[in-house]
Symmetry: none
Subunit: 161 residues, 2 copies
């Protein structure tokens, strides 16, 4: 099966470019994109993507993606911001390929990067810090969990959802 990650990305694109009013239509378009999944899977995907169902001015049902900026993203980072004030300004950790991206409060990236470097974990080949962002280049094959664990060691409470 083509993986779930890309399926969610395709779904996002579909929602951005189309107005659906039921899941079956979405399933068909998914199929055209090469994803043959059953309705329960789509239902779960939509919950995960937090697709909301609204009525437009004509009273027609429409599925729409949440506005990331207003919903989860911001509020999530805000929540963390309140919670973690003394922890080097850490905001979030994410991955792409062999790069880890750490977001921090404005101005905190360098000090947190220094902190990270001090651990000298073998999984992290090197780091590069800007103002509110740190890039960590990971060793090939390094587990992401190792990086999460590293952050956990530095940022109390990280990952304790």
């Amino acid at each position: 099966m083509a993986n779930k990650r890309t399926r969610l990305d395709v779904l996002r694109r579909l929602f951005e470019n189309n107005s659906y009013d039921n899941q079956v239509d979405i399933l068909n378009d998914l199929k055209n994109e090469g994803f043959m999944v059953a309705q329960p899977t789509l239902s779960r995907d939509m919950r995960q993507l937090k697709v909301s169902r609204i009525y437009n001015k004509d009273g027609k049902t429409v599925y729409v993606l949440p506005n990331e900026k207003k919903f989860n993203h911001v509020s999530h980072e805000k929540r963390r911001k309140e919670k973690v004030t003394q922890s080097f300004g850490f905001l979030s950790l994410s991955f792409s390929g062999n790069i880890a991206v750490v977001k921090t409060l404005h101005g905190y990236a360098n000090s947190l990067a220094a902190e990270i470097d001090e651990f000298e974990v073998p999984e992290v080949l090197g780091s590069l810090a800007g103002d509110d962002t740190i890039l960590l280049v990971l060793k090939e094959g390094a587990s992401r969990e190792a990086v999460r664990s590293l952050i956990r060691n530095i940022v109390p409470g990280y990952d304790e959802e």
Copy 2:
């Protein structure tokens, strides 16, 4: 039967003060308010009130009234458009793997990067700016078109043959 107008008003109040995840619960509360209606009526009322069904951060279903400044992203976009009149020294955009490289005029990288960050598009995990270069780490599976589109929003005329 107490009339429909007041029932809709009561419904509005109920939605403002409670988190429902199905219509039957709402029907019960309506009954407590003195409105004995059947489910089809409620379904129609909700369409008329344009109650939308969203998933909150925990993935729970919630019905919410529109108009609670959650969906008016239009004005926000407008504000942005007005603000962005110059081109932030943008020169070029290219890609390598999951990294996008933006070249700018000397000294412009940071301000353009800040502008990019403000959009908080989910496809861009983070950015790192030097003097005339910005690295964008893209989410795995993110489409390059999404990044081009982002740049298009910031740099007037970019990519418009």
